[in-house]
């Protein structure tokens, strides 16, 4: 297996190969190369529906993560015993929402998606941002991951600066 990438939307043109390449680098930096990961790109309508269904938040957002392992200690790599346990979970990327934000900040869409994906993988590995402490811990992890990404790829990515809604 590896990274299962699905593009369920037609609102935003997406370079699948570019996104996959960046996600593979992130997996390597996080140390979860052996774990399968699902990346599903959706539009505002769908991400809003999922946000409302699972978080009772009836509005679109940039990312929603569905961890395979719940209640992980933040940053702990899961201990898998069988092949089908090598799974981190699924990340839904609200590409339309991210695209709209990029227009406001003049950011490249695919760079923004990489940052959002890094945030999503943090959630799959147990990081939260319900409290100030949790948010600081997650911010630090994201900063480290993205600085490594920048070092390996020559990019200039920065973590999401505000809390997820």
């Amino acid at each position: 297996m590896g990274v299962v990438l699905r593009n369920l939307q037609s609102v935003v043109p997406l370079r699948r190969a570019r996104l996959r390449r960046d996600v593979e680098v992130l997996r390597h930096i996080f140390g979860v190369q052996r774990f399968d990961l699902g990346i599903i790109c959706v539009d505002n309508r769908r991400i809003q529906h999922i946000n409302n269904l699972y978080r009772k938040n009836n509005q679109p957002t940039d990312v929603l993560s569905f961890p395979f392992y719940e209640d992980l200690r933040p940053g702990k790599i899961p201990c898998a015993l069988q092949r089908d346990e090598y799974n981190l979970g699924d990340i839904f990327l609200g590409v339309e929402y991210v695209k709209h934000r990029c227009k406001e900040t003049s950011q490249d869409l695919h760079e923004a998606l990489t940052v959002v994906t890094a945030h999503g993988i943090c959630h799959l590995l147990g990081y939260r941002h319900e409290t100030e402490e949790e948010w600081i811990e997650m911010q630090q992890k994201e900063s480290y991951i993205l600085s490594e990404f920048n070092r390996l790829t020559g990019s200039h990515l920065e973590p999401l600066t505000k809390r997820c809604t």
Binding site: S10, A17, R20, L53
Partner: protein
């Protein structure tokens, strides 16, 4: 009727005994003939074999068969055609964005486009393009206002990319995955989430340009067990030539409209054939 046949047989047997010359068979057939004859003197005899038996026919003088069933069928078709035309969204076919030129040959459609010297052709056929409607959860099946599930045509389609000066075309066999074949996540609320790409590439091959026949000796790449990064590059290749999710959505609209158009035409031809007009 059976009584008449047995009486005829008895009569034939008596005649064969009393007369030495004619064989039983001829007498029997004569008796049968006499029973079926409509000539003088035959009115008092029970009619066994007459042309008025069995078939309820309504003659229009064309020489073809016309039955009560045909009449009911024709009436049904008239109503059906009226209903189908009523729900037909538009008499004209929807336009594809991106400068695609449409050619039609019955149920087969071709979309052509030139891009910096490259020629891209999409071919599909609306026959057998409507997936089975598996209404496991009727509440979540998309339905029209009348309550009937929407009929959507999702045809397999072939993309041919031909570069100038190159004899072979790069051919992609694509399809619209049916979601029931993929893992469809059941949420805690019992709703199913579609998780397959809008369209997918099944096979890729180099084929002689312009040939209608598929060359079996050309290597054909099957994407079932293909490296996913390579697959994404192939999808990117298509997207750069205008074959992306937007195109796929529009193709469904076009195919659905074309299929409906052909269906109505078929019903009209069937009605004409049945009515024999």
């Amino acid at each position: 009727m059976l009584k008449s046949v047995s009486r005829a047989v008895q009569l034939a047997a008596r005649l064969s005994i009393s007369s030495s010359a004619p064989p039983l068979r001829r007498t029997f057939s004569r008796s049968i003939w006499s029973l079926s004859s409509s000539g003088a003197g035959s009115d008092s005899r029970p009619r066994l074999l007459t042309a008025t038996r069995a078939l309820p026919s309504l003659s229009c003088g064309c020489g073809s068969l016309h039955t009560e069933g045909d009449k009911a069928f024709a009436e049904f078709l008239t109503d059906e055609i009226k209903e189908e035309k009523k729900i037909q969204k538009d008499k004209s076919l929807p336009k594809m964005s991106g400068g695609w030129e449409l050619e039609l040959n019955g149920t087969e459609a071709k979309l052509n486009r030139s891009l910096s010297g490259e020629k891209v052709t999409i071919t599909f056929n609306v026959n057998n393009s409507i997936p089975p409607q598996l209404e496991e959860d009727p509440e979540h099946t998309q339905k029209s206002p009348e309550g009937e599930p929407d009929i959507v045509s999702t045809p397999n389609f072939v993309v041919e990319v031909t570069k100038p000066g190159v004899k072979s075309s790069l051919v992609f066999d694509c399809h619209f995955p049916e979601d029931e074949l993929f893992v469809s996540e059941q949420t805690a609320h019992g709703e199913t989430e579609e998780e397959s790409d809008i369209f997918a590439i099944r096979e890729v091959s180099f084929q002689p340009e312009g040939d209608a026949e598929w060359k079996e000796t050309s290597y054909t790449l099957n994407t079932d067990s293909l490296d996913w990064a390579l697959y994404d590059h192939l999808m990117g290749f298509l997207a750069d030539r205008g074959v992306d999710n937007t195109f796929a959505d529009e193709l469904i609209e076009l195919s659905t409209a074309l299929e409906h158009q052909e269906y109505i035409k078929f019903l009209e031809d069937l009605s004409t054939f049945v009515k024999c007009k």
